[in-house]
Symmetry: C2
Subunit: 157 residues, 2 copies
DNA sequence: GTTAACGCGGATAACTGATATCCGCGATTA
DNA sequence: TAATCGCGGATATCAGTTATCCGCGTTAAC
């Protein structure tokens, strides 16, 4: 089980965007994080399709958050990049073999699937409790109070 | 993000083993669940290496749980199959680019990684709260009180 | 009006990991 | 001695991730 590396990129980009003043081009976000421009573009397009960021085309285009950082959760970003499917996928093996479960019993999900999905729900709830704004605060605490001032400066360059 | 299909197989096998009277061969477990014998064998070997099941070789060999079902959690099985690595892997992109985080600040994990790992911890805690015995009970409730009697009967065939 | 910077979608390719099978080996028992 | 079993290695296939490139339309500056 592995999360796409794009999740990390997307989250960090959202934190930067939450502190930017205007639209930030993908090129700029890629440079800032030292990552591939073309591949990052794909992930930003996913964020755009999910409605988390808006894109402006043309000469001075780029990406911006559609909502304040406090209204975008980590879960929003993760689902936008990873998709909304559950990590655990029940293949209903209880219906196989010499003693298959009755169609009657299979109306509800099996105990294994229920437990796995409950765990995944706990994961999602935890991610839901963290916003981009929260992460921005933690970055500021770790890297110093002038961090985003310098980020904005560099973005304006 | 997707969990290995082997997790589902392994969990269901553990439930069956918790109700078996002697060692159950991989062949038998595969037949019972209508799945590939050779591939299931690989997963059972992983459970064996993790210490969740013991294997007896030879003519009347097979697999058995090393502990009562109540002492084996869903998390034990998932980690045995999926490995113990976190799904989210921080690549420290904060250290890249024109404004890299200071080595000082990087002594602790970044806020993004902390939040992702906290969510994963919540997932693990949830899995830790469910035992094989719990799952056996839920199977019995869903499929009827004589279910495991018939399972043992078929295994003995 | 032309040019340059930008986002968008499609095509493509390399690489990785999951899925799956087969084989020979040693162990055990009928 | 033969049949049944687990074990590990080699191998093949397939899907998903990672990544790049291209042409297209859009927009602003010159």
């Amino acid at each position: 089980m592995k999360l796409s590396g794009g999740v990390e990129w997307a989250v960090h980009c959202c934190v930067v965007l939450s502190q930017a003043e205007g639209p930030v081009p993908a090129q700029r976000l890629a440079e800032f994080h030292g990552i591939s421009r073309t591949y990052l573009a794909k992930h930003l397009q996913q964020l755009s399709r999910a409605g988390l960021v808006s894109s402006t085309e043309g000469r001075v285009g780029g990406y911006a958050l559609t909502r304040p950082g406090g209204e975008i959760t980590l879960l929003d970003v993760v689902l936008a990049i990873e998709g909304r499917e559950q990590a655990f996928r029940c293949t209903e093996i209880r219906q196989n073999g010499p003693l298959p479960a009755s169609p009657q019993a299979c109306k509800k999900a099996c105990g294994v699937a229920r437990a796995m999905h409950a765990a995944e729900q706990a994961w999602r709830e935890s991610l839901k409790g963290v916003t981009i704004a929260d992460l921005a605060v933690s970055v500021e605490q770790d890297a110093g109070p002038d961090t985003f001032v310098r980020v904005r400066e560099w973005l304006g360059t």
